[in-house]
C-alpha cells in the first residue's frame, strides 16, 4: 500500500510544469541586489558623516577672516571662549576636559556597581530574581536621557549634593556625572552579564571541585575569564557617556573651563553643540562653524573607543567559539 502511494505521489508531483528557471534567477538576482544596496547604505552613512564633518571643520580652520584659528591652536589651546569678548579663543581642551570629567564621574559610579550587579545576576540570582532585575534594568535603559537630565537638575543637585556641601552650584559636573552614570548603568550590567554568562560552566565546576567558595569562583575564575567582554562593555558604556547630550546640556552648565573640581560647572563638547544649534548664531559665523570642528573631535574620540571595544569583543567571542 505504501509502495502504491509512493508511486502515485511521484506521479502527481511531476504532473505540472515547473516555474521558469530564468524568471527565478532574475528575481533572485534583483532581490539580492536590493538587499545589498540596503546594506551599503550603512557604509554610505559613515562616509557621509565623515565627509560632512571633515568638510565643515575644514571650512572652520580655513576661514579667511580668522587668521588665529589653526588646527594646532584648536588642539592645544587652553581657552574656549567663542562668544565672549573681542578676541574669541578656540582651544578645544576645556571642552574635552569637561567631557572627560563628566565621563570619569559616570564611570566611577557605574562601572563598579554595574559589574557587581552583573556578577550577582549571573552567579547568585535565582532565575526568577534575574527576570525581575533584568526587567528593572530594561526600564532604566529605556528612560529617555532628558529625563535623567531633569532628575539631575531637580533632585540630585538640590537634594543630594547641596546638602552635602554648599560648594555645589545649580549646575555642576557632579550631578551631571551621576546622572550619566545612572544612564549607562544598564549598559554596563547587561553587557557584562552577557560576558560572564558566556564563561563555560565547566570552568566554574572545576573551581568548585577544588573547594572554592562562590567568591573565589566569581572573582578569580569567572570575571578573569570574561574579562575581555567586561572591558568591551565598559568601553561601550563610556562611549555612550562621552556622546551623551541632553543630561549635560541640562545639568552640567554652560561655562567651558579647565577644572577637575566636580562642584563647578563645566561645558562638554556635546553641550557646546547644543548651545550653538539652539541659539541664533549665524550659519556663516565662526561660532557656528566651530561646532563642526568640535563635532569632528567628538566623532573621532568615540570612533576610536567603539573600534577598540569591537575588536576586544571579537576576540572574546572567538575564545569560546
Amino acid at each position: 500500500m505504501t509502495a502504491l502511494a509512493a508511486r502515485s505521489a511521484a506521479e502527481i508531483a511531476n504532473r505540472g510544469t515547473p516555474h521558469s528557471a530564468l524568471i527565478r534567477r532574475w528575481s533572485e538576482g534583483s532581490i539580492k541586489f536590493a538587499l545589498l544596496s540596503m546594506t551599503l547604505l550603512s557604509v554610505v552613512t559613515t562616509i557621509a558623516i565623515v565627509g560632512v564633518l571633515a568638510g565643515e571643520a575644514w571650512g572652520f580652520f580655513s576661514m579667511a577672516d580668522q587668521p588665529d584659528i589653526s588646527l594646532w591652536s584648536f588642539v592645544t589651546g587652553l581657552e574656549w571662549s567663542p562668544l565672549l569678548g573681542a578676541r574669541p579663543a578656540f582651544g578645544v581642551l576645556p571642552l574635552v576636559a569637561g567631557t572627560l570629567l563628566v565621563t570619569a564621574i559616570a564611570g566611577c559610579f557605574a562601572l563598579p556597581i554595574g559589574l557587581l550587579t552583573a556578577v550577582y545576576l549571573s552567579e547568585y540570582a535565582s532565575s526568577r530574581t534575574r527576570t525581575i532585575l533584568k526587567g528593572v534594568l530594561e526600564i532604566l535603559a529605556g528612560v529617555p536621557t532628558v529625563v535623567y537630565g531633569f532628575f539631575a537638575l531637580t533632585f540630585i543637585t538640590p537634594y543630594l549634593l547641596q546638602p552635602l556641601s554648599s560648594g555645589f552650584g545649580t549646575y555642576n559636573a557632579m550631578s551631571a556625572g551621576i546622572a550619566v552614570g545612572i544612564m549607562i548603568l544598564p549598559i554596563v550590567c547587561s553587557l557584562s552579564e552577557d560576558a560572564l554568562r558566556a564563561v563555560p560552566q565547566s570552568l566554574r565546576d572545576g573551581a568548585y571541585a577544588l573547594g572554592s567558595t562562590k567568591f573565589d569562583v566569581s572573582a578569580k575564575v569567572v570575571v578573569p575569564a570574561g574579562l575581555s567582554g567586561v572591558i568591551a562593555a565598559f568601553l561601550l558604556a563610556l562611549t555612550r557617556a562621552i556622546g551623551e547630550t541632553m543630561i549635560v546640556a541640562l545639568a552640567a552648565g554652560g561655562l567651558a573651563q579647565l577644572t577637575a573640581n566636580p562642584a563647578e560647572q563645566v561645558q562638554t563638547m556635546t553641550a557646546y553643540m547644543v548651545q550653538i544649534f539652539l541659539g541664533d548664531a549665524p550659519a556663516a559665523g565662526v561660532e557656528y562653524k566651530s561646532s563642526y570642528a568640535v563635532a569632528f573631535t567628538l566623532f573621532l574620540i568615540t570612533f576610536v573607543l567603539t573600534w577598540s571595544g569591537a575588536i576586544i569583543l571579537k576576540r572574546y567571542r572567538e575564545e569560546y567559539d
Binding site: E28, I31, K32, L35, L36, M38, L40, S42, V43, T45, T46, A48, I49, V52, I113, L116, Y120, L121, Y124, L133, V136, L137, I139, L140, G142, V143, P144, T145, V146, V147, G149, F150, F151, L153, T154, F155, I182, L185, P186, C189, T213, F215, D216, L236, T239, G243, T245, M246, A249, L250, M273, V274, L278, A295, L298, T302, F303, L305, T306, A310
Partner: protein
C-alpha cells in the same frame, strides 16, 4: 590543621562580604529607579489632566499642554519605524543569509558596530546637511514643491526641519541597533531549518521568506520595539536639525513643523520657574507611560510568539 581552619573562616568572611556588596550594588539600581519614579510622580502628578494632553504650548504654565509634541512624537516615530525597520531587517538578511564570508562583509560588520557607537547628536549634524539642506544642492529658501501644501501628500525639496526629516534622522540613529538585533535573531534560527529548506530546492530568498524570516520575526519585533523606544526618547539629533520650535499645530503632512515630547521636556526643564518644572515632570510621566506600554508589548510578543523552533 589550625592554620587551615582560620583561613577557611576568613575565606567564608570574604565570601559574605562579596555577596553583600553584590546585593548592595543591585539594590542601588532598584533604589535609583524607585527614587526617580517617585520624585517625578510627586512633582508632575498634579499637572496631569485631559486639558494638559489636549492643549498647545503656552507662556502661562497653567494653560500649557503637550498636544503638539505628543502627536509630533507619534508622527516622527511612525516615519522612523517605517524607514528603519525594513532597512534593518533587509541589511541583516543580506549579511546573515546572502553574504559569503569575505573581507567586504567583515568591513561592513565593523562599520555597523562603529555606527552604533556614534553619538546621536552627530547623526543630527549629518541629517541637517543631508535631509534638511540636501547638501546645499537645492536652495533652502525657495524649495521645489510638489503638490498642494494643505494636502497630505505635499512634499518639498529639501525637506527642511519637517517631520519627515525628523523621522529619517531618528531612523539613522536606530538603524545600527535594528541591524544588530535582527542579525542576532537570524543567527538564533537553527541551521537545520535552513538546510531542510535548501534540500527541498528552495532558492536563498525562498529560504528567508518561508523559513528563517518567520522564525526570526518574534525576536526581530522585540528588537524593533526596543529600538523604537530609544527613538521615541531621543532629543539631541532633532534639536540639531531644528525641530525645537514652539509649535502650535499638529502635523498635517510630511512637511509640517514639529516638536517631540523629549524636546518639550528639555524646553520646560531648562526654564528656571518651578511651575515649568512641574509641567516637565508631567510630560515625563506621559513619556514614561508611552515607553512602558511599548516595553510591555515587547514582552508580550516575546512570550507569546517565541514558540520553540525545534522540539
Amino acid at each position: 590543621m589550625a592554620a587551615g581552619v582560620i583561613s577557611t573562616s576568613r575565606r567564608m568572611l570574604s565570601n559574605r562580604v562579596f555577596l553583600w556588596s553584590c546585593l548592595a550594588a543591585t539594590m542601588i539600581a532598584i533604589l535609583l529607579l524607585s527614587v526617580l519614579m517617585v520624585s517625578i510622580a510627586i512633582e508632575g502628578w498634579s499637572s496631569i489632566s485631559w486639558r494638559f494632553l489636549d492643549s498647545f504650548a503656552s507662556r502661562k504654565p497653567a494653560q500649557a499642554g503637550i498636544k503638539a509634541p505628543l502627536l509630533g512624537s507619534l508622527w516622527v516615530c511612525a516615519i522612523c519605524g517605517l524607514a528603519a525597520i525594513p532597512m534593518g531587517i533587509g541589511t541583516a538578511i543580506y549579511l546573515e543569509e546572502f553574504a559569503k564570508r569575505s573581507r567586504l562583509k567583515r568591513f561592513i560588520q565593523l562599520n555597523i558596530s562603529n555606527l552604533s557607537g556614534v553619538p546621536s547628536i552627530v547623526y543630527g549634524i549629518l541629517a541637517l546637511a543631508a535631509f534638511v539642506r540636501f547638501f546645499g544642492l537645492a536652495c533652502a529658501d525657495e524649495p521645489w514643491t510638489l503638490g498642494d501644501p494643505e494636502s497630505l501628500f505635499f512634499i518639498q525639496f529639501p525637506f527642511g526641519p519637517s517631520v519627515l526629516a525628523g523621522g529619517l534622522t531618528l531612523a539613522l540613529v536606530i538603524l545600527p541597533i535594528m541591524i544588530i538585533a535582527s542579525q542576532e535573531a537570524f543567527r538564533a534560527v537553527p541551521p537545520s531549518l535552513r538546510q531542510g529548506a535548501l534540500a527541498l530546492g528552495s532558492t536563498p530568498w525562498q529560504v528567508v521568506r518561508l523559513v528563517t524570516l518567520p522564525a526570526a520575526m518574534p525576536t526581530i519585533m522585540t528588537g524593533a520595539i526596543l529600538a523604537m523606544s530609544r527613538a521615541i526618547g531621543e532629543a539631541a539629533p532633532l534639536l540639531v536639525i531644528g525641530g525645537f520650535l514652539l509649535v502650535f499645530q499638529t502635523p498635517t503632512n510630511l512637511m509640517s513643523d514639529f516638536t517631540v515630547l523629549p524636546l518639550q521636556i528639555f524646553n520646560w526643564a531648562g526654564r528656571p520657574q518651578a511651575d515649568f518644572h512641574k509641567l516637565a515632570a508631567a510630560a515625563i510621566i506621559v513619556q514614561l507611560v508611552v515607553l512602558i506600554s511599548f516595553n510591555s508589548v515587547a514582552i508580550i510578543i516575546r512570550q507569546k510568539l517565541q514558540r520553540p523552533l525545534q522540539s
